[in-house]
Each structure stands twice: as structure tokens, then as C-alpha cells.
Amino acid sequence: MKLTKEEIQFVDNYLIKNEVKYWDVRLELLDHIVSAVEDKMTNDGISFNEALLDVHRGFGNQCIEFGVPKGKIFESGLYQSNIGFKKFTKNKQKEISRKNRKRYWVLLKQTLLSYSFMLEYLLFVMMIFVTYQYKPKTALLVALITLAIPELLKFKYVFRKGVRHSLNANMVGLLNSSFLCFQGAILNFYKDEFTYNGIVDYRYIIGFYVLIYPLTRVSFMLYKEVLNTTKERYQLLTS
């Protein structure tokens, strides 16, 4: 027995009520629940509600029948917890971040070995080196601007439809923010090493930016890759 469009919508709303707020988490749960409910209704001859409750328990959620005396009236009902769905989302979050970290190193390796990137990196280093010979402060500014370009380009993707409520997009954004914080923390930690008698030695800061250039570049590549996949799936969902 196939569920109607309204019943599928009901299941989707039920998931939203159970705090499954990311659409890319919901899509997998929705398909599983709908398939299981259809199967149970056809083969076990049970109602839609009974089948849904059965699947609800299967995910590790709790269903407790309760009775509460309220004055002369005895109220009874069914308490449903969403602990299973919470675990599902938490586990998925952990695995996505593991997947992203793994993909990051694969991309970094591929990028460092590609001739086009080698040429790009060489040009970047030469540009910084030449500028430093004339104006060290300008060289630092050039390095900073070059590193900021991928960060600015990310805004192009952030405001796309479906990005805000996607777990995949959120996790890759988080990885990126942690990377930026890590950069800042390193610079802050070693700031005394760059300063001599109150004068900042730009060579070390520029050197640091030159070193992290491939890492920032790959971070943007991963961001773009994940957000493009998210966009494709969202388009498929809304088509």
C-alpha cells in the first residue's frame, strides 16, 4: 500500500516536530520511515499510526503510555521521545566531519601534486617575494588579500537555498571556521617571536601565510565541492 502525498507530508512534519531540522538528514529518515510504514500496512495489516509508532521505536526512540490524575479527570496519552533521532543526527554529524577531514587530506595531496597548482603557488611566492624587496608592509597586505579571496568567495555559496538547513553544509563550514581559528591561534601564540623591541618582523608572518596558502586553497575546494553536492540534492528535492 503506497502512502499518499499528504501522508508523506505528515511524516515529514512529524520528523520536524521531532527536531530533525536538517533536510539532508530528514530525507534519509523520511524514505526509510515511509517504506517501512507502507510495508507494515501491507504485510502486517496494521494502521498508519500503529506502523509509524513501530518504526519510531525501531530508531531507538521511546514510546511510553502514561496516565496522570488531574483533579477528577484522569488524563492518559502517549509520550514519545526523540532520543533515537537525536542519536541518528549526532552520529551522522560525527561521520560527516570524519569524511570531510579525510577528503581534505586527499584533496591536499592531489592539489600539491598537480602542475597547475605548482605554477599558481610559484607565482604567488614570487609575487610576495618581489613585493617584499620594495615594501615589506605591502607584501604582507598582498598575502593577506590573496588568502582572503577564497574566504570572500564562500559568501557566494552561503546564501544559496537549502544551505542553511543542511547538515553537510554546516559541517564543512565548521571545519573551515576551525581552520581559520587555528591559523589565528598560531599567529597569536607566536606573536612574541615576530616582535623585536616593539617592531614586528613581517618576514615570519609573510612566511606563515605563504606556508598556509595551499591549506586555505584546499579548504575552499572542499567547501565548494560539498556545497555543490548539497545544491544538486536540494534541487532534486524541490524539483
Binding site: K5, L27, L30, D31, H32, F59, G84, F88, K92, L236
Partner: protein, 110 residues
């Protein structure tokens, strides 16, 4: 998994083996296939299946394909090249485990 904790350690091997035999499968299909093959003896719960699938995906053993089916999106899992190689290793490991257990439990048959 409802029947026994003994099956728990073999869950990833079961998933890999099924995906090795089929081009691609979705979550619910895997649970049903296991139920059918074991004549209802082994039931994989949703709470056990999905963490295992997501872990295998993160490890790069599974790839994901999304398709629209009956007004909703369906996530299909399929083996990657590394996944196919890992399936062979995992099955060998499992066969070895069964052999060892047999030697312990029933030495006459081993």
C-alpha cells in the same frame, strides 16, 4: 539487531557482502534483504543500520547516489573500489572467525 549481540560485530561485513552482490541498495532494502535471507532470524534495527552505513561512507568504502522515487528522495549506497577490496578481506576474516569458533565449540567438526 534484535536477536543476539553476537551478530553485532559482523554488521559491517553483512552490509558489505550484500552491496557486493547488488549494484546499489537503500537502507530499508538492506534490512528487508537480511530478514529475507535469514528467514526472519536476524533483524537489523534502524538504530544499528544507519550508524554502520554512515561509518562505512566516511571510511570511503561506500559511495552515495540520490534519486527521486515516489515523491521523495532515496539514498542508494554502493561499494567503492576500496569497499570491494575491503569486502574480500572482511569475508576472509569472518570465515577465519567461524573456523576458530568451530574449533572451540565443536572440535570434531573443525
Amino acid at each position: 539487531m534484535s536477536n543476539s549481540k553476537l551478530y553485532k560485530g559482523s554488521l559491517t561485513t553483512i552490509i558489505l557482502k550484500l552491496l557486493n552482490e547488488h549494484d546499489k541498495m537503500y537502507g530499508y532494502e538492506i534490512t528487508q534483504k537480511v530478514k529475507e535471507l535469514t528467514k526472519g532470524e536476524l533483524k537489523i534495527t534502524e538504530g544499528a543500520l544507519y550508524p554502520a552505513l554512515h561509518k562505512l561512507e566516511a571510511e570511503g568504502l561506500l559511495d552515495v547516489e540520490v534519486a527521486k522515487v515516489d515523491n521523495r528522495l532515496r539514498k542508494y549506497y554502493k561499494l567503492t573500489e576500496t569497499g570491494t577490496k575491503e569486502t574480500v578481506n572482511k569475508l576472509e576474516e569472518l570465515a577465519e572467525y567461524i573456523k576458530t569458533m568451530q574449533a572451540l565449540v565443536n572440535p570434531k567438526l573443525a
